[in-house]
């Protein structure tokens, strides 16, 4: 018996009926969510999956009433029988944090840049649960440890900008869990996490759920995660619920056409169907001569900052080593996957490659030219050839520029297209990344996470680069769009010999898409090799752990799956 069934007779703790959300935009009202209804019981996990931009995040925010001011909400949201939409802000405050906590999709902007994360996590404790500062700090350290942040005593005093993407996300989770809410709304809580950490976090959530009868709404693109974690699943598309039901049911016997596509395009499944390497073009014969990139003994340090007082006393915190003594070669036309623990220096490495971070030591050659000592003009040329998609697409878009402007900018500035051709090319690029043209005038704030992601990809592709450094480009995308984007990249790779450096936590994607993979841990390169070798015969413990932690689509007994503790124990 599932949890839901056990409590089926009882009133749902949260019940949403025909929720509509409209946004006032320059182009008039836009409906983001239409007639969504859902029930959530204590101890139950409700999964929401769906197309990127289908209204998942908006629904979640509507429940906590945290939509932007331009939103018009109608419908009914009952929390323990009270209509949330009718409450005033004061009562609402009483509900948030303790009754409903929220993990936002976009951790980096949801953390106050000026406050140490320990404090941010402890805030709820202090104000909702009356802890004093020291207790709150202690508990924050505990929570950080729970979410598997290493050295929590040190990290508790870090500022958000000193954390890696995954760390921020975990800090966010810790903050939401702090007050032991009854309902947790988790909007893609694990997108920036590597599989080992992800499974640990999922375990943690599962434990809490059982221990505290937590009700949870989990939004994710990772069907495997959803299937593992959830009792019931809601599938959304275009603002509507297209299907909902018991998790097992939906996964095994999808009714709606969209659900079927969704499940089918799961890369793992795809990979299995298409006999391994079929998806991946074999690397063309090694070109002789220089590698595309040659990285030698790269080390990057970030100077620590221990607050003003310690600066005064000369006891500033020690520098953080993000990358240590890393050497690597990347060939022409190769697709290199970089995987590794969250905080292991992947993003830092990527930023070094595009000259955003200067190495503390070591050198990088691009086609035989050292990039660190390039002249300004060469740098411009270099950047035209090497493009990066940032881990956090929302942050990487100018808040004042519409999607179309952002994509058109490089075209115009580099005279890649002229006059009317620009508009045409922008539409073409938007089409390539599956962005509806109607979003052209939207600003980043008015886009969903996945939509921002695609704008960023389109912008990078607009440059027609030779190298694409893609930092977690698939994490915010649902599997259908994910596979379309990957297909697009593959196409480019085949047609134009695009070299891709793909940083991803999704080992499935790396395995099916990349030629070679590099595994990083603690700033060091642990292992590198062709994916078949690496995934088939991992040489290092860490790689093995990673592989073991990949969540899988349950095919047999869903119940047993979801109740058996660590996923790592799976075969």
């Amino acid at each position: 018996m599932t949890q839901a069934r056990r409590q089926g007779s009882k009133e749902p703790i949260l019940s949403v009926t025909s929720l509509n959300v409209d946004f006032a935009t320059a182009g008039g009202l836009v409906r983001a969510v239409e007639g969504v209804s859902l029930d959530l019981h204590l101890g139950e996990v409700l999964g929401i999956v769906g197309e990127s931009g289908s209204g998942k995040s908006v629904t979640c925010r509507a429940i906590t009433r945290l939509l932007p001011l331009s939103a018009r909400v109608s419908g009914r949201i009952l929390l323990e029988g009270d209509d949330i939409l009718a409450l005033d802000e004061n009562d609402m405050r009483g509900i948030r944090g303790e009754k409903i906590a929220m993990i936002f999709q976009n951790p980096s902007t949801h953390l106050d840049p000026l406050m140490r994360i320990g404090r941010q996590i402890g805030e709820g404790l202090r104000f909702r649960l009356g802890r004093n500062a020291r207790q709150a700090r202690q508990e924050a350290i505990g929570l950080l440890a729970d979410v598997r942040i290493s050295e929590p005593e040190r990290r508790v005093d870090s500022y958000p900008h000193e954390l890696s993407g995954g760390m921020k996300q975990r800090a966010m989770i810790a903050g939401a869990l702090a007050c032991q809410p009854r309902i947790l709304i988790a909007d893609e809580p694990t997108t920036a996490l590597d599989v080992t950490v992800q499974s640990a976090i999922l375990d943690l959530l599962r434990d809490i759920r059982h221990g505290r009868d937590l009700a949870m709404i989990l939004v994710s693109h990772d069907l495997a995660v959803i299937a593992q974690m959830c009792d019931r699943i809601l599938v959304m598309k275009d603002g509507r619920v297209v299907e909902s039901g018991e998790a097992e049911e939906v996964v095994q016997r999808p009714q709606a056409a969209y659900t079927r596509i969704l499940i089918d395009s799961q890369p793992e499944i795809m990979a299995r169907r298409r006999s391994g390497a079929g998806h991946r073009a074999p690397l063309r014969a090694e070109r002789p001569g220089e590698a595309m990139f040659r990285i030698e003994n790269l080390t990057v340090e970030f100077s620590g900052r221990g607050g003003l007082l310690s600066g005064l006393l000369g006891t500033a915190a020690p520098a953080t080593r993000a990358v240590t003594d890393l050497s690597l070669e990347i060939g022409h036309g190769e697709t290199l996957g970089i995987v590794g623990e969250s905080g292991s220096g992947k993003t830092t490495l990527a930023r070094c490659l595009v000259k955003l971070v200067l190495p503390t030591a070591g050198r990088i050659w691009f086609c035989g030219h050292p990039i660190c000592t390039m002249s300004r003009r060469d740098t411009v040329d270099y950047r035209r050839r090497v493009q990066m998609v940032f881990q956090n697409p929302y942050e990487s878009l100018d808040p004042r520029m519409s999607a179309a402007q952002a994509i058109a900018e490089p075209l115009l500035r580099h005279r890649i297209a002229k006059g009317g051709a620009v508009g045409h090319r922008v539409r073409e690029l938007m089409g390539m990344v599956e962005l509806p043209v109607s979003l052209a005038t939207r600003r980043p704030r008015q886009l969903s996470g996945g939509q921002c992601q695609r704008v960023a990809i389109a912008r990078a592709l607009a440059m027609e680069p030779q190298v694409l450094v893609a930092d977690e480009i698939t994490s915010a995308l649902d599997v259908t769009i994910q596979s379309q984007i990957l297909g697009l990249l593959q196409n480019l790779r085949e047609r134009m010999g695009l070299t891709i450096i793909l940083i991803s936590h999704d080992l499935g994607v790396v395995r099916t898409f990349c030629h070679r993979a590099a595994v990083m841990q603690g700033g060091r390169l642990v292992e590198t090799g062709a994916v078949e070798d690496l995934f088939g015969r991992p040489g290092q413990d860490y790689t093995r752990q990673l592989l073991a932690a990949i969540p899988r689509m349950p095919h047999t007994d869903l119940r047993g799956q979801s109740q058996s503790p660590p996923a790592a124990a799976n075969p």
Binding site: E89, R383, N392, R400, R413
Partner: protein
């Protein structure tokens, strides 16, 4: 079915309101300035020694001053010179300051250090010496005032905008723009500036009002408008000895400045919320 809209109203829905109100006030002043001659009824500089210090009446709506001039027409004509002072006085500091702040904050390093010491220097520079030198060189008048302001006033803008830029330049969208191989100056203008400008937009509107008032305070150095020009600040200064006997000499120009200041204030806030809504 209920309508719930966050808290309060959408800020961008309000922006045009403020902008319109502010714009309307300022526009009204501009119109007055243009039409001053036909609105006022009296020549603002005509002296009538038989009509000294008359209280407001049907004949002289705002009364007459200590030289028997019609305060109403002086206030109206004052719009001309004061708007000119306000706008012309703010333009150079705004442009110079914004530029320096942007460049200095964005590029950082030795350039920044140099610029900021230049800012220190300018703040430290004895303004009155500057004013005297300029007046001596160019002769007294409002133009000298503008030049003195341009030499000094930019500092405030530079500091404000630099503070913003320092934060913005570490944002990812600037990094992204860099990786697009865009020219740093272009990034500065297109990405940094629009995101850093809003405190400046607010301050500039404040500054216009301050400039108008400050000009009058500098009268004792031969700065600002020359008599008998009808200028609000000077009118207030002239009227101060008559505060107890003829309040209207100071009062009406004062009201004129306050109203104009309000207009600019609305305009500034409206502009700022428009900029906010643009994100």
């Amino acid at each position: 079915m209920e309508q719930v809209t966050g808290q309060g109203q959408a800020s961008f829905a309000r922006a045009p309101g403020l902008l319109l109100l502010g714009g309307a006030i300022v526009l009204a002043y501009i119109l007055l300035a243009i039409l001053a001659g036909s609105v006022s009824g009296y020549d603002p500089d005509i002296i009538d020694l038989n009509q000294l210090l008359q209280p407001p009446s049907a004949l002289h709506w705002f009364g007459t001053d200590h030289l028997g001039r019609d305060v109403f027409s002086r206030v109206i004509h004052g719009a001309r010179i004061d708007l000119y002072i306000g706008f012309a006085g703010v333009i150079a500091p705004l442009l110079i300051g914004t530029l320096v702040g942007l460049v200095s904050g964005f590029f950082g390093g030795p350039l920044d250090a140099l610029m900021m010491r230049l800012v220190d220097l300018t703040v430290a520079f004895p303004f009155f010496v500057l004013v005297l030198a300029i007046v001596a060189a160019l002769g007294p008048g409002v133009e000298s005032y503008f030049i003195a302001l341009a030499c000094v006033g930019w500092v405030t803008y530079a500091r404000i905008i630099r503070a913003e830029v320092l934060v913005i330049r570490s944002r990812d969208y600037i990094a992204a723009a860099r990786t697009l191989g865009l020219h740093p100056l272009y990034i500065l203008i297109r990405h940094v500036l629009p995101n850093a400008i809003s405190p400046v937009a607010v301050y500039v509107m404040t500054d216009i009002a301050l400039i108008i008032v400050f000009g009058a305070s500098l009268g004792f150095l031969g700065m600002g408008s020359q008599p008998p020009t009808a200028e609000w600040g000077v009118m207030i200064a002239d009227g101060q000895t008559y505060i107890s006997s003829a309040w209207w000499i100071c009062f009406f120009p004062g009201v004129a400045i306050v109203l104009l200041g309000l207009g600019f204030s609305f305009l500034g806030d409206g502009l700022a919320s428009l900029l906010r809504a643009g994100r």
